[in-house]
Symmetry: C2
Subunit: 638 residues, 2 copies
Amino acid sequence: MTTITFLPGFRKISVEKGETILTAAQRADIHMNAVCGGQGKCGKCTVFVRSGRVDFDRDKYGHFFTREELENGACLACETVILDDVQVFIPERSFIQAQQILVQVRGLEVEFKPSVWKYYVELTPPTLVDPSTDLYRLLEGVTKAGGPSGEKVYAPLEVLRQIPSILRESGWKVTASIALVPGGYRVIDMEKGDTSKNLFGVAVDLGTTTVVAYIRNLNDGTIAGVASNYNRQISCGEDILSRVNYARKGGLGRLQELAAESINSAITAAANNAGIDREDIYEIVVAGNTIMTHILMGIDPAYMIEEPYVPVVRRALSTVSQRIGLNVNPGAGVFIFPAVSDFIGGDIVADILACGMAERPEISLLIDVGTNFEVVLGNNDWMFACAGAAGPALEGGEVLFGMRANPGAIERVTLDYESLVPVYETINHIPPAGICGSGLIDLLAELLRACVIDRTGRINTAIVHERIRQGEHFPEFVVEFAERTGIGKDIVVTENDIKNLIMSKASILAACITLMNQAGISNQDITTIYFAGAFGTYINKDNAVTIGLIPELPLHYIENIGNGAAEGANIALLNRKKRKVLDDVAYKIGYIELNAEPSFMDEYTRSSFLPHTDLAIFPMVEKALEACRIRKGVNHGA
Amino acid sequence: MTTITFLPGFRKISVEKGETILTAAQRADIHMNAVCGGQGKCGKCTVFVRSGRVDFDRDKYGHFFTREELENGACLACETVILDDVQVFIPERSFIQAQQILVQVRGLEVEFKPSVWKYYVELTPPTLVDPSTDLYRLLEGVTKAGGPSGEKVYAPLEVLRQIPSILRESGWKVTASIALVPGGYRVIDMEKGDTSKNLFGVAVDLGTTTVVAYIRNLNDGTIAGVASNYNRQISCGEDILSRVNYARKGGLGRLQELAAESINSAITAAANNAGIDREDIYEIVVAGNTIMTHILMGIDPAYMIEEPYVPVVRRALSTVSQRIGLNVNPGAGVFIFPAVSDFIGGDIVADILACGMAERPEISLLIDVGTNFEVVLGNNDWMFACAGAAGPALEGGEVLFGMRANPGAIERVTLDYESLVPVYETINHIPPAGICGSGLIDLLAELLRACVIDRTGRINTAIVHERIRQGEHFPEFVVEFAERTGIGKDIVVTENDIKNLIMSKASILAACITLMNQAGISNQDITTIYFAGAFGTYINKDNAVTIGLIPELPLHYIENIGNGAAEGANIALLNRKKRKVLDDVAYKIGYIELNAEPSFMDEYTRSSFLPHTDLAIFPMVEKALEACRIRKGVNHGA
């Protein structure tokens, strides 16, 4: 056997000759970037080989590195095969970074109707005149303690095997955990003595990027702990397509493990913070997109990314925690939200549950923006949904100084329209390193109001100002000068960045309008726009409407519901009746395939203006821009 | 590590120093007698140590052996600890012998209503305009093929994981196996192509001594194969008490494995004979006594053999084959018959199902005689049951030349009342080696009719006849002289044997009368006596009534139902409706504890005559004996 040592941590593991550095790192639980899923395409898994022999094709992959880096042993971990004992240095940039994750929940007003209960019973021991069986005696006690009637309760083998010794060793004083299951009830655990206080459940938002776990006390529904971490599958590919490709190359088992590990580690953190034993967690509810939930259940997601794009299953799924490697009470049930299609997953069904739009006759529009976007329109009677790729711009990709919402990101910006000096906030209040999505939306709206850009997104280079200049390739606006940044460079936004941002926002707006056309309704028919997703929470509603990211409604009709997937999971955990109707909700939704909808491209073109080519559907924005234009004496063009 | 070699087979395995020879033999799959369960009490596990060092206490256990045997290295395998590499010879007598096992079934007239089906479906592959999920498509096909409606069908994780590849690799032509489960249906298997013909189920009679498995074609209910073998737990103790004691000493896991192995080996034999793949077995129904079924499920039976004698569970149990180590299709369901009490198990509930007594208003009496006896009295409205130990006499124990129904056993006897020469049949038609239960009952009745014995069982030594003589301790009747036997000795029945047989039959008759008294009925109220158990099949009804083993009814009111447990299991396998009411039947039965019933001892005393002290309740027997007495000119006494 050969060994590999990872610096700077000096972690060491045995490897087979021929294994790649990336898979060895994954086995060693070192979480490296691999945006392309280990295909040698993204260049994000750079390592430096310090000693030992490896096989790496410099001719093919050398272009990712400078000459100096190559001289220092730079390789792509995914394309480097270990031939011998090696020492490998992993630079900071190749590690997956922890990100800012949304953990708040709106004030829930959910009726508390749990699906799992504990009953503490003190039983009379059997005698010759009362020789009923151990199980009968237990279930009779449960019924007397307010539980379901005995004949409705199924006792699985593992519980039957425990019953005789636990009853006798406890002096016939035990706590039984009983869960509602299809067709009746089920004994899921038996403990000695009174443990009825220790009854918890977990609501999980299993995202492509992050995992959030909320532990709730299932005696009263209160929150006991919350924790989150990134989805460890990121080491197998950053976006969902890379994950599916990884699964196709035999990696489904590994991805399943990583999904379970990600959830386990969030649960462990939340449980530790709250001083809760994981064994006292008796139920898990998971909301995630269709590919994530397929992977968590170990079901092949491959057929969802190629025509005709079919999931294996849409309906809500139930299983037992240990079947999918979740480390809570081994009898704990796992409930997985149903999906609408491969692109509208359980996370969106959870959004719908969180905003309550499926329960009201009024029409709502739900927009969830994350790596992709999903839009749902409808009420308690009908619903349409669609989904698409917004492009990476709103998450800081394909934008020169764009970045994720990590420390140093500019997240809010206002502009002094006279001096054009931006006033901004960065995450963690450190000198800026770049601009994240919410900051970019603010900037776009403010530059439009300040007449620095026109409605096509062109920068008005006629304005003479130190912040407005011709960059190397494109005109640009300087958000901050090098000396005040954390990166020693001017942070700018270029006309090309703005073009990319407009393309992203145009997709979302066009999707909304396409659904409205499908339903034959206009803005006036919509009572509420729900903005969901971590991104939604930080967004400035006025600015989002101003740039035409979403249709125009009075601002108080727009509600940020934040992490709707997590909230929906919490609701389903707390209220079994809400959970029961989810399959019906999911089946009711008509999925509109945007690529098959000829009008979508027209709407997209019309939406590729700020806010839209037709200002008649943005009357308030029109009025506000008019006011700015008059103040500045500028014609914003069309 | 040390090794042990077993002769004569030269089987060799590794052992830890300190292990006993018996446990090593068990691990080596050598099935040795251990009637006492390895407690050093029965002396049946004799081995001869040929070489190597062992630790065996000759002072304590030497009395089991002759001096010569001790000089040849005789030890008790259960009490001999291995210290070194050893060679051990196992004599023929220490192996468990295969026995004659009942495999016939009466002509069943059971409505065929199975609980598992196969549906072959040819599906249309998904397209962009028909992108429904794999599961939906499959279940829609099943519904169209006559199966249950899709939303009632649960697809477990293991099936969901298989669906996408099986559908595509088969060209969308698959066979789905669907089983009825509480609350709906369940997909238990998916196969490529049309396998709908390969659908089998197994009915198992799990006896303390023997295991019988019937494979049935679940497309039409016909029998496909039958096989039986001894219960391999015999190597851990012959009677049920020894098994429970073995379980108490940490042996439950081993006993569970042996129960599963016993069933597996019967199934394998039946499947091989019939040319059936075990993977095509989709359901197993097991009837067994309460201790056997607890052990098969891995549930501790310890509390059933001490006051207050409570089972862990009585109700019917369901699980999945692989959970208890049964090697059939991994998704196959296992149904275990419910029990009435620790002494009235699922085997008796199966008897009740087989004879149909719980479905008719007429009153029946069911008697099952095996290692123990069980009696059930009642109709579709009420039922009483009791159980007891008949003593070993009826199985050939505590009878000088008694033996089990093995080859060479005299199983039928008639007597020429003039010459007193017995005419007999032996099993396999070889020279006699002893007398089994049915032969002993015949002999008792015939000796009574021939006035050789009186109604107390005393041999009339006043008769001068070469076959009637004073033995070493007791008067005896010679059934066969040494030169015509297979054992070189006179085969006799002694007055002491007869006393033991009367004690056995008296228990059974007293139990029947006690139940009748409890119900306030007399012989005339009973329409049928069902005689069940392997023993019952071979018994001569007239002789059984004549000696007072069972109450007197006209002979055509007495029916041998043979192996009722196996038959009941077959019925439950074939008809789900019959299965459904079993819990109700079991709960309806009032269990009478004979030891707590003061009148039982009186009835026992009154039954300790041939046929009974009160001939008024045996009027036909009285008449027949009167006729014999007149013919012989003898007064039968009493």
